[in-house]
């Protein structure tokens, strides 16, 4: 008679890392649908700041959903790229959330959102040079030592560049990963948006990154505008279906990385759950093409 090995007894919700499957951003309007239908989704991701509240429905539903699914905790307010020190209270709140929900992954952005006492509620760009590099590395070190776990850092979508920058974004990110041991959350939509905005080749950008460090991929839709020259200006608004160009880039990324946990992000004009689930299934198809 075969005895199950300990590994096969671990449910995905209790497994140590994110599964190599597709996940969805968990939206409050889908809480009850998820609990009632238990959809076949690899994992859910939530914005950490939304759950920094004392009690109520958010914790009620997240607790029930977390018991059944792996979880990725994604921060949007830590301001890792900020000139000032990290907010200790905010870090303490993150540590409490991680203790409570034991997420498989924690990630944040290469961006800043606070200056002094003011929180600007956007992911803002930073100049890339030796001094900002050492500052970001110090912040990542501080996060990882406070949270007692490695974090994933997400590449940004940007609309402007700084004259002060002396390093390419990809070299800057590569050096942070080398110095701090953090992983990379590769947002393929951000790569596409930034590369169109800054006239770079998206695939060359991808190839300049340390792809071995990729622990998660984000896919999302963008909005389209034009700048003063009438050139395409793409805006990362998480409010549209994933663009074909981003799907193609995703396929090229997977050919290089092999299967990676992949999240479909939609934060604005959130459609019915089934629409997001269809995008997750599409991503799952790409993943299955590279699975061994």
């Amino acid at each position: 008679m075969m005895t199950p090995t300990p590994d096969s007894m671990v449910s995905p919700a209790q497994a140590p890392g994110l599964p190599l499957r597709t996940g969805l951003g968990l939206k409050t309007q889908h809480f009850t649908h998820v609990l009632e239908t238990c959809p076949d989704i690899g994992f859910f991701e939530v914005h950490a700041e939304n759950y920094m509240v004392a009690g109520g429905p958010f914790h009620h539903y997240l607790g029930l959903i977390r018991a059944q699914y792996p979880l990725s905790l994604h921060g949007v307010g830590l301001s890792i790229g900020g000139e000032g020190p990290l907010d200790h209270e905010h870090l303490a709140r993150l540590a409490m959330l991680i203790e409570r929900y034991q997420p498989q992954s924690f990630s944040e952005h290469l961006a800043w959102s606070s200056h002094g006492p003011v929180f600007l509620n956007d992911l803002l760009p930073l100049a890339y040079d030796a001094s900002t590099l050492s500052q970001v590395c110090d912040h990542v070190d501080q996060v990882q030592s406070t949270l007692k776990r490695p974090m994933l850092l997400e590449n940004p979508s940007t609309y402007l560049q700084f004259q002060r920058s002396t390093l390419d974004e990809t070299d800057f990110i590569g050096e942070i990963i080398r110095r701090t041991g953090c992983g990379l959350l590769l947002d393929v939509n951000n790569v596409y948006v930034s590369c169109i905005n800054h006239q770079r080749d998206p695939l060359a950008y991808i190839d300049a990154l340390p792809l071995r460090a990729v622990g998660e991929i984000h896919l999302a839709g963008f909005a389209e505008d034009t700048d003063s020259l009438g050139d395409r200006l793409l805006i990362d608004d998480h409010g549209a279906p994933i663009d074909n160009a981003v799907w193609q880039l995703y396929e090229q990324v997977l050919a290089r990385t092999g299967p990676v946990a992949t999240l479909i992000e939609r934060d604005n004009q959130v459609p019915a759950f089934s629409v997001l689930q269809a995008e997750a299934q599409q991503a799952q198809w790409y993943l299955s093409q590279v699975a061994r």
Binding site: E49, N50, M52, V53, A54, G55, G56, P57, F58, H59, H60, Y61, V76, G77, L78, S79, G82, E83, D87, H90, W112, S113, S114, H115, G116, P117, V118, F119, L120, N121, D122, L124, P125, L126, A127, Y159, L160, Q161, F162, Q163, R164, N197, H198, Q199, D225, D227, S228, L229, D231, L233, I235
Partner: protein, 254 residues
């Protein structure tokens, strides 16, 4: 001034020029791209306020909220707490004075958001509360602890009626908003509820929240309004699972 300080200042000031030291790789005017960041900051904060204040969240509100965002940008990454001072801002905002109840509606909506996110606490079941009340020998000295989500508001306007009319999309000109009304906000399970209560009940509930025993709380309520109905008010609290604990006042030892 540092790059980020200049960036932050220019983001919050709509008329300000694009900060120095930035460029577009295609040679486009950087201001046309900086505008994306400025728009993200303002529209995301205004949208956040409009979500938290749905009754007042129309076009007029968005224009007013834009001025509020410039004057009082968030001081915390916790956006659910942003806008705590909005009601006071509305109160002092001259163009809003033609809708005098707007500030109190905003106060009511803030209480709803707070109730939604308030701490969880085990509540006493309804038979248990009734049993303890009926069996209590010193009923007047009983202290009633209320759920953390529970809050009240007194207004010179019919705030609950106005708020409820908006929920049902009724025209509010079917009633007179200029009569005083109190509001009780609480969370029962995962649902936030709003009730119209009289000013005596507001005083009664606030007295309990400040730790008064039943006898003192009733006296305070009657002093405020001789129409206060204890039975009705307790029934409202018990039937909506608002009571978390009942115990006798501790005698102060000498």
């Amino acid at each position: 001034m540092s790059i980020q300080q200049a960036f932050a200042q220019a983001l919050l000031t709509p008329a300000a020029a694009c900060p120095e030291g930035v460029f577009s790789s295609n040679g486009a005017d950087p201001a046309s791209r900086f505008a994306v960041y400025r728009n993200n900051v303002h529209s995301s904060l205004i949208n956040g306020l409009a979500t938290a204040y749905p009754v007042v969240g129309d076009e007029f509100f968005r224009a007013m909220a834009g001025l509020y965002v410039q004057a009082y940008p968030p001081a915390t990454p916790l956006i659910s707490e942003y806008g705590n001072s909005l009601a006071d801002f509305i109160q002092g905002f001259e163009p809003a004075s033609s809708v005098p109840y707007l500030a109190d509606i905003a106060r009511l909506e803030r209480l709803r958001v707070r109730a939604y996110h308030a701490a969880d606490r085990q509540v006493l079941d309804q038979p248990g509360v009734l049993q303890q009340l009926q069996g209590a020998e010193q009923l007047g000295h009983l202290r009633v602890q209320l759920h953390p989500s529970l809050a009240t508001l007194n207004s010179p306007y019919a705030i609950v009626a106005v708020w409820a009319a908006h929920q049902a999309e009724d025209a509010i000109d079917t009633f007179n908003p200029r009569h005083a009304q109190g509001a009780l906000v609480l969370r029962q399970g995962v649902a936030v509820k709003v009730f119209a209560i009289d000013s005596g009940s507001v005083t009664f509930i606030n007295s309990l929240k400040h730790g008064a025993g039943l006898e003192v709380a009733v006296a305070n309520a009657l002093e405020n309004s001789d129409e206060f109905d204890l039975h009705q008010c307790l029934t409202l609290l018990i039937s909506h699972d608002a009571i978390t604990h009942l115990h006798l006042e501790q005698k102060v030892s000498p």
